[in-house]
Subunit: 341 residues, 4 copies
């Protein structure tokens, strides 16, 4: 039961407004425990990480992201609290970890970075120990040696890197990142099939190069529901009432801020729209938001009644489903191109 | 919202059976979040500690307790998991911390130790910053310099040490520990009165010398409820069903095991009895259990109907009240002597 | 045997050039162990800290410094390594700690901060446990409650705060900081005298408000040598040879960079000048450097031959003396005003 | 530049006498820095670990070792200091780590354990990134998934496990462990040859099952010297002078204690004998000590003058050579059988 948040804005956000001050941030949330079936694992205390890009380009500092991670809980990390008051960024990834695979170690904290790229994951790759070596065999030497920890997530990132023409490039076309993401999911599905793994994998992945963001809400199943994923957009994100109560305001038609998160980050659930299962969501450099179905054998068309009846028990048992009280149809911002994989 | 557990047995317990394996241990519990009003602070990830006495006396090793503490969450501490599988003890204090005052630091983790004594606290001393210097002024130089961290709890322990005739003694009469505990509470009440502090203090304290255990369920208020405190006793404490489901069994009249905890540690709530508010509970070296009213101006006699109507909002707001579904009158094991303070 | 470094420049420095990349930085130094008499304590692995001010003022971010501390060794702290590559600042305090008093805890890591002020210390206050309560009694309630850890250094900072007319002010005259520093030293000497402490105290202190820097090289003895303190100034500080070999270059008469450090930070010892014992060194907001004798009963005039014969054993035994191979007379940049205390 | 120590005794040792109290323990040593060429890496602060077997068998606790590891420096680890005062064991592995490969993480701390086995390493496998996948391909699924960290050492342990007929066995013949060790070295040499790696690997390995100990002093070179390895034996190991000065005493012919260490652990260097390069040293369950040449293409017979002229620069540059002031010929305790590989 990890949690993550993505922020992309035309103006930089002070990290504290995203991470440490809001009472509903991924760090401070008092999660609703009634949905939790996994009573042996307390929530979200197994480390965290935040990654961000500079708000002003400085030749000397370069354009790679900066990453701060810790194995102590985020809500009580004095360094995070101090840094969040001093750092602004137009593109932030935040992640709170609950171990499913992988030990408590900085090496296992998301987001992972390579060159200009950042990546994080919420979910779990089923039977990963059965496919790890198969995956490693497909990596180039460079990418193989990037992997420092022992999580399925970091290996998925390495696989995604291996799907890119040049993972060390200075810039990536949005479409290149989209295709690498689709290839990663397809390859993981292939490995699972070869290994005879029937349990579904929960693959909510996000990747960015500092310009584009590509995220997925995906499960390798036609019947089970994916881990939850929501987005919100507006003009300003600010505190409207003392005690860390934040709200997304929409002053005009322009979208200055887009946030994607594993669950709604404000009490105003109407501000949050759910991303459809087995869809990819893309934020372009120019702040357009696209939602694109991932059409493979696990895809169920929204016109198929079965799409409304996915079984939530699997994701809920893993603590990966937020309450769907505010289910609102997603309104993509432009005509999405449907990619097939 | 700290949690603690005390184990005293005629036979040593493997620490894992108390701490890491039971699904309802203070470490693994999935706490019922419906009672929590403090939505800004996640639960119980701010460090933990366990203290224990040797199961076999060894002249070279001495008779002081051993303490293991950490600032990372207990449920994922590989050292705790390993040590708990290898250590047995007849008297254990375990504590999981949620910061109220004091920073995240090993110096602030309970239990605290001095010579043969161990101490821990669940609750909070109201307006502590207003009385800290007054308290420090009352300590001997030796005891003053014992304090390493910045918590109210450690200062309360230092105060208790200063109430003992010889805090470095090799043994203590049970009654000596009881009196020091009563003196500590009385002195803290005096400081609060002098400083004009009207908010109640929650003083669930425990102290042991390895032989006797003295614990309190106490609040400096006639109207508010204290933080919860429960006990259970029996012959064996063991797993009756896979997945960490433990139960206290009572094979005969003899009490081989006594456990005191901030909330019931098994699903079998009938096994747990609530300790009355503003009472002291004592385990003697010979495993007798006494419950003794702390009769001061905050005491309300059980025969007074007001005793049933203490307001639970204060303690609940601090996350210090467990659900009272299994309220059972406490049956003290012998005729308690009532001490006045 | 702590180490510290101060950087103040007309242009911001990337923290990595100060802390992580130079082979002679306070973090990476392979200290000469031949001077060390304290064979029981390894060097400089007991935590570190770095504090800095923003290079560009941002109303939303405010003007207080940011502090990053850790209890793991600095040379292997992945967060420090990453942050140092991304942060630039015109005024930096860096500190590597070896515990003398105080436990291993973030609360005990320098620099300490309060409002706009930062403070750090290299040395030790003799018999501190004998004067701690006396010192605490002299603090205001506000300042008393600032102290989080258990070091002599943090208490000295609290004392300095109590010597300022308004420790929460937005700006301080350089002279106000100088006077507070002198008062702090004088008061600590008074406490020691009252308590009958005869061992000298090593008081190399530094304080800044983001504009001025005040540092001392001081020992409360006429006969023993103080902990070492050096400075260097120039136009650029950069790598002249691979492997982290840095040098201070002086392109013209202008002083763009002033560094003060517990020992020379480059192989070019000629670039480093020693600050005289029992002197205060001041960097003004306009980058003038003053050296001012601290004239009290422990002062020995440079014209007195005894000034050349201070006994180095005491400081060396504490690991606080760097080899004086490059002893060069200090050339203060302007006519210092001599303050008496 | 790691350090390790092995203790095996007929009586259990209190861990503090081995680890925390002696001024020359692997934790407290003030290493002679004059031999160090690697000036960029401070010494031995990158975590440590200790593993031990119970001194009394307890059916409930089982016979696997207990491991305690940390990423903060050992000399200041309050948990280690407390545990070492309370734990006794007849067979202890202690290890202090300086990172060469692998990040700062508990997963990377030695000793590593599997079932009844413990393993540690001092040295480095040359070009490990070039042979890691080759090594992994040779592991069984079980053993592959044992590896949690990213060090060459843990992979070498996994390889050794794969050389055992049953790595989960309850007991191992001494000779089985010896053969697995030889096979591990031979296989690593083979991988290096296949990958065209010419830099020598430093393979000082130790493995134990709680009964036998097998350690190697080995380098894959005919010309360079291996990392240092010493042993001492006697009747008692105790403090003869205040300040942590320990000595090995030999009261009679019986060997009650055998210690093997990366460098002499007392000032009495005459008590320590150097193990010959490219030899295996074995402690049998009955406390016999054998020294056995590892005869392969890198072996140089002691009768060959070249054996005295191995070049120490390579090992010294890695900080892995202790001063050979007390070079004493090793006197093996019984007629060793020479194994060929």
């Amino acid at each position: 039961m990890c949690r993550f948040v993505i922020y992309k804005g035309t103006s930089p956000v002070q990290l504290s407004h995203l991470l440490t001050r809001p009472c509903h941030s991924i760090i401070n949330q008092a999660f609703d425990s009634r949905l939790r079936l996994d009573h042996r694992r307390p929530i979200n205390g197994d480390g965290f990480g935040v990654g961000w890009y500079d708000s002003v380009h400085d030749e000397e500092l370069g354009s790679q992201p900066c990453i701060f991670t810790a194995v102590t809980p985020a809500w009580n990390n004095i360094n995070l609290i101090r840094l969040a008051e001093k750092i602004k960024s137009p593109l932030v990834f935040g992640h709170v970890r609950a171990t499913t695979t992988g030990s408590l170690s900085l090496d296992n904290c998301h987001p992972f970075a390579y060159g200009k790229l950042m990546f994080m994951h919420n979910g779990g790759i089923a039977g990963f120990h059965l496919i790890k070596r198969r995956l490693q065999a497909d990596l180039s030497d460079d990418v193989f040696n990037v992997v420092q920890g022992n999580t399925d997530s970091e290996c998925a990132f390495a696989l995604l890197l291996s799907k890119l023409p040049d993972p060390k490039a200075n810039s990536f076309a949005t479409r290149t990142l989209q295709q690498a993401m689709l290839d990663t999911i397809a390859t993981l599905n292939l490995y699972a099939e070869e290994a005879g793994i029937t349990e579904p994998s929960l693959m909510n992945f996000c990747v960015t190069d500092g310009e584009s963001v590509v995220a997925t809400r995906y499960i390798s199943s036609r019947h089970d529901e994916a881990a939850s994923l929501w987005f919100s957009s507006g003009t300003t994100f600010s505190e409207y009432a003392q005690g860390g109560h934040y709200r997304m305001a929409k002053a005009d038609k322009r979208e200055n801020i887009i946030m994607i998160a594993s669950e709604p980050l404000t009490f105003e659930k109407a501000d949050w729209m759910e991303i459809r299962t087995n869809n990819m969501v893309v934020i372009t450099p120019k702040m357009n938001l696209l939602q694109i179905p991932i059409v493979d054998k696990f895809y169920v068309s929204p016109s198929d009644p079965a799409s409304l009846n996915r079984d939530t028990d699997f994701a809920a048992a893993k603590g990966l489903l937020s309450p769907r009280k505010a289910l609102v149809p997603v309104q993509p911002r432009e005509n999405p191109t449907q990619l097939s994989i």
